[in-house]
Amino acid sequence: MESANELLTILPVIIIGTAGLLVMMVDAFTENSRTAYWITVLFSAIGLAVSVNSLFGPTGTSFYNMIAYGGTAAFGAVLVMTGTLFSVMLTREYLEKTGRHIAEVYSMMLFATFGMLVLVQSNNLVTLFLGIETMSISLYVLAGLVKDEKKGVEAALKYFLLGAFSTGFLLYGIALLYGASGSTFLVDIAATDEKGLIYWAGVALLLVGFFFKVSAVPFHMWTPDVYQGAPTTITAFMATASKAAGFVAFILVLSRALPDVRAEWSDVIWLFAIFTMVIGNILALVQDNVKRMLAYSSIAHAGYVLIGFAAATGAAYSAILFYLFAYTLMNVGAFGIVAYYEWNKGLDFTEIKNYAGLGYQQPLMGVLMSVFLFSMVGIPPFAGFIGKYRVFAAAIDEGLISLVIVGVLASAASVYYYIRVLVYLYMKEDEGAQVTLVKPGMLYSVTLVILAVLTLYFGINPGSLTDLLLSFKDAAY
């Protein structure tokens, strides 16, 4: 019964994979796309429950050490499933109301989630590569979901070309590390004695591949275009679930395959963290399109997360995981509100000037937007504050004072572009065009309220989650 027990270690992957195939078949045989939607929501919820449950289970490796389960990998699955469940719940109403409902979206989202789950559980560079590619290829399709919309298809093309380009670097890095160490298992790579040119070139190329996937400056060029062009709830999915999966895999690779050369890569990441924070925030300041502003803000957030990677201690990794959780909640929420404003016809509701005075018309949506944006700024008592605080604290413990100073200044500058949205929503009533907003659906509002409540809850009461994450320290390090 050994193999049956091994299957249990990848239970979320199996659930999501089955659901993807099922939804594809259901979609082929039924007219009604609601069936596909409800199956997707149901299976995502089960997947989330199973991965939350596995947080408290054993840790170890299975499938001949190809898969790691429990600990950091289990929390990675929780992050991915949270992002997926909430963005799926928002997707149907958004696509229906904007008149572009295409039922294939659910199976593609589930296949992308499948790839992410494999990615966060990988203990071998082959599984890692396959996870990243399953995720990316599904995301290329999702970005160009509406195939007669020029912006969406252009986003898909840019994502696809730069994604294929970065895959080349990642695979070359994997190949060279394999050549230097004679194995693709993360632990065997850590045991490499002879660190010659091939080894260092492999490490460098692998880092470049990862920097592309998590959109660190200067490998961020695709992010704003793709996030702006893709359908908004799909952007929420890409910005949260796939980003979180990439970062968790980055933790696994750095802590398991390259722990003994930590001094070298942490200096490199130090430099990239500064570039990412500064350039991400500066470019976000000048955006007039809300989706594009949120895209640059997600680059800036990647910069704050990289501070944790530069510190590279067990405490820093647990802080990163908490940050990613907060980031997932508030970003799905913020993109969800933008998606809601887009339901309204007549004006382009991704442009900030059209937001004038909208905050009073649908008070609930205005309040929720404020919650998510304040959380992104990092104002207590929201989860975003705790995340930032813990990452910065872990970096100060490692003596990275200058890096933290840049981080704090950058996040102070970020107040401008987040609050600007609220200024338009609440304080520019007279300038706005006269539009009457449609009422949001019940399920849509409830989803967003849940996200806001979770953001607030983990801001006020982070203790239980942070203790749990700190207990992973040994597994990941």
Binding site: K150, E154, F160, T167, G182
Partner: protein
């Protein structure tokens, strides 16, 4: 050592691929250059595998080929969609999204 000839060829092909992606304007040619990058890596993997007497590298090559095929299927579909919308596949003329 013979291995270094293969690695050298692979590095040269990879560099040609990178230069192709960065300089060409036609989306299909850019995609071909990206495929060249992947295939040059496959050459590295196979030669390492032969050198080490270990089969894992060759298995990874099969996976890489499958991924490249899946990517080609999706990529060419996206390029067709781009052509239908813009009547061109020249990436320098497709710029609704910038800054």
């Amino acid at each position: 050592m013979e291995l270094y000839w293969f690695l050298g060829l692979s590095a040269v092909l990879f560099t040609i691929g990178v230069i192709g992606v960065l300089t060409r304007k036609n989306a299909i040619v850019i995609f071909m250059s990206a495929e060249l990058m992947l295939n040059s890596v496959n050459l590295s993997l196979v030669s390492f595998s032969a050198q080490l007497g270990d089969v894992h590298g060759q298995i990874l090559v099969f996976f890489a080929l499958c991924v490249a095929a899946a990517e080609a299927a999706v990529g060419l579909a996206i390029i067709i969609a781009i052509y239908r919308n813009n009547l061109t596949v020249d990436v320098s003329k497709i710029h609704l999204l910038r800054w």
